[in-house]
């Protein structure tokens, strides 16, 4: 379970926030531009992005603090509101305003709130199990997941934690020398995201969702233990004209656990 970038990806370093912050962006693939926003665990380039990169040039920024060159960049981001403004500057600086965005979990929370603040920023939104809403009767388990013992994590993220797909997702390299650095980076990425997710993963996004005008596809797994699928209904209810797809028997990472189905849904929505 570790951050990887695409083979042959190039890294762009974009200066934002009056040149006080550098954001590292992995760029890979070919075709029209597409923004990808990663989850709380940091950027991880899996097969979903490889496939998407056959059709789009993917721009995947790394949350400040999660790039190895500057773990303390996160301390330059005081609030979620500032983070949104930084990302808006980033999208403009990359020259990809008006492109579609695909975003997973924590990234989904950023993407949808960017679209609420700046309705013209994206042509389309694809939200994969997005965080950002809170229902008292169905509390998300972001807090529990973050505090969970390592052996409990697969059960939070996957409907079938014993599957080969889940095992491959959490596999660590054979070389034991590499493991501490990889685990530390993953833990730190959670810490950086936690700045906006902890203790309650709700930054008031719900009250701004009526401002989202871009066509929106929301995908949830029916067995998502982190953000229960009822949040799909809640997002769909609050974003006018949006479409919800719930994938049966799937957990919190549909683009990994049900890759084919998810990719098909995403592509048909983006190409339509």
């Amino acid at each position: 379970m570790h951050a990887e970038v695409a083979e042959g990806a190039r890294e762009e370093v974009v200066s934002v926030w009056n040149d006080e912050l550098e954001i590292h962006v992995q760029v890979a693939g070919s075709g029209p531009p597409l923004l990808f926003l990663h989850s709380a665990g940091g950027l991880r380039w899996g097969e979903f992005l490889d496939r998407l990169g056959e059709h789009y040039t993917i721009h995947a920024p790394q949350l400040p603090g999660t790039h190895p060159s500057d773990p303390h960049a996160i301390h330059k981001v005081d609030t979620f509101a500032d983070l949104l403004l930084m990302y808006e500057e980033l999208v403009r600086a990359l020259g990809i305003a008006g492109a579609p965005v695909v975003a997973e979990s924590f990234g989904g929370m950023i993407a949808v709130d960017l679209a609420a603040h700046f309705p013209a920023l994206f042509s389309k939104l694809v939200l994969l199990a997005p965080a950002g809403l809170w229902l008292d009767d169905h509390p998300p388990t972001v807090f529990e997941l973050t505090a969970a013992a390592p052996e409990e994590v697969p059960g939070y993220l996957f409907a079938n934690p014993d599957s080969d797909i889940a095992k491959a997702f959490f596999a660590l390299p054979d070389d034991p020398e590499l493991i501490p650095g990889i685990v530390a980076a993953l833990v730190w990425a959670q810490g950086c995201s936690g700045k906006f997710l902890w203790p309650i993963p709700d930054q008031g996004t719900a009250k701004r969702l009526h401002r989202v005008t871009a066509p929106t596809l929301i995908i949830f797994g029916s067995e998502d233990r982190v953000m229960p699928a009822i949040y799909g209904e809640e997002y769909a209810r609050r974003i006018a004209g949006s479409r919800l797809e719930v994938i049966e028997g799937c957990g919190h990472i549909p683009q990994v656990e049900e890759l084919d189905r998810t990719f098909e849904l995403v592509m048909s929505f983006l190409e339509a």
């Binding site: 973050t146 013992a149 685990v183 530390a184 810490g191 700045k195």
Partner: protein
């Protein structure tokens, strides 16, 4: 050497199988486990034992802060510290009131800490030792809801505010990242000037030690993880760093908390305390989930990697939930025996690591009040007198000891006569 009594307030009536069934913090189900009368008794006994220690000649009494915790019923240690400050003042007992302490990384109201400490220092006539802990991760982040990655930044800002609130000669405005006040002008101010001594509890990471030595303050280390294993690493690191940073080898720079159980003989001590000790370690720190010591973001990325490469500083932490009495004794997580054994083991350790302040925990877990009284009494008469002079021949000045002690007749002593 200064010898202080270290208090902790566990609920004393946890079930036998507690450690197998529950965590000791955050999620521990109160209504299932607690009988209110037993809770009252647990708290009363805790306070009584602190007062007994103060009356028995200890140089100080110490309390700590833990919220939503079954092993230390002390969401705000200043509540009990106020009892201690007043009672000792009235009774003319010149003991240090040691709060180790209110957590500045957790608090959303650091100015309240500055005010409370100032009340305690004044109430006690300048006998406060002001602990400035960052706060344990589970307490600051899970109980307190502070994003882990903000914990240290909040600590630093809160501490800067506390120090300014104590030293400013004029009211001032505070426009911080975490606290904002239009006018700060606290009443009372501490009696000790420029401020009560700062003691900093920590787990001994190089970053923490550098900060403590840089500020020229007291590093306070707790023994729960087995000092036979962790002590050589952490204390040697401390003194090596002190040398590198040009600090002297004054043993009063170090405070060390140690669980101690004294009997008439080694056999009696093991018989009387063994079971309680085992339960104490299993049910308190042993039942804190490992993640609770460092939620993601609480420890810097380099620190996380360092711990993953070498977890020697954690000692027996990972085994505490099933720890046996034998292992506790072998690793010196607890020093248990007749007076001679206890004296020998303490003196060996104190001398080897140059410890100038010893905080002894003489109660733990399910230990009944009468047994705790027995332990306190034996320690005070059979052990304590042999420890006081350990550093006298080196002639160090204790620059981190409350100036109100020995300086004047404690206020209110006349009332007790």
């Amino acid at each position: 050497m200064k010898v202080l009594y270290s208090g902790q307030a566990p609920y004393r009536y946890l079930p036998e199988d507690f450690a197998q069934r529950y965590d000791s913090v955050v999620t521990t189900p109160y209504l299932d486990l607690v009988e209110p009368a037993n809770m009252q008794e647990s708290l009363h006994s805790y306070v009584e034992e602190l007062l007994l220690a103060a009356r028995s000649g200890f140089d100080g009494v110490m309390v700590t802060e833990h919220s939503q915790t079954s092993y230390d019923l002390s969401p705000n240690p200043n509540l009990v510290a106020a009892i201690l400050a007043h009672t000792t003042a009235v009774e003319g007992i010149d003991a240090a009131i040691t709060v180790l302490g209110r957590s500045l990384g957790k608090s959303r109201e650091p100015l309240r800490i500055a005010e409370e400490y100032a009340v305690l220092d004044t109430l006690s006539g300048g006998r406060l030792i002001a602990g400035l802990p960052v706060g344990l991760s589970y307490d600051a982040n899970q109980n307190g809801g502070i994003p882990p990655i903000e914990t240290r930044a909040r600590y630093r800002e809160g501490r800067a505010l506390l120090e300014k609130a104590w030293s400013a000669t004029e009211p001032f405005a505070w426009n911080g990242k975490y606290s904002r006040y239009p006018i700060v002008n606290i009443w009372p101010r501490p009696m000790q000037q420029p401020h009560p001594p700062f003691w900093i509890p920590g787990s001994g990471s190089p970053g923490t030690l550098a900060e403590i030595l840089g500020h020229d303050e007291v590093f306070t280390y707790l023994s729960h993880f087995g000092p036979k294993l962790t002590g050589p690493r952490i204390f040697n690191r401390f003194w090596d760093m002190a040398e590198e940073m040009g600090r002297d080898r004054n043993p009063y720079r170090l405070a060390f908390m140690q669980v101690v159980c004294v009997g008439e003989t080694d056999a009696e001590a093991e018989h009387l305390y063994g079971e309680h000790l085992q339960r104490h370690f299993r049910n308190s720190f042993g039942s804190v989930p490992m993640s609770g010591f460092s939620l993601p973001g609480y420890t810097d990325i380099r620190g996380v990697e360092a711990i993953l490469r070498d977890h020697g500083d954690m000692g027996i932490a990972g085994r505490l939930r099933e720890i046996t009495f034998r292992e506790l004794a072998d690793t010196r997580a607890a020093i248990v025996g007749g007076p001679e054994t206890v004296r020998e083991q303490i003196i060996e350790f104190v001398k080897e690591f140059r410890i100038g302040n010893l905080l002894v925990m003489l109660h733990g877990g399910s230990m009944p009040h009468e047994l705790a009284r027995y332990n306190i009494g034996l320690f005070a008469t059979e052990v304590l007198p042999h420890l006081r002079g350990i550093w006298d021949d080196e002639g160090w000045e204790h620059r981190w000891w409350p100036t109100g002690i020995g300086a004047r007749t404690p206020a209110g002593s006349a009332a007790a006569v």
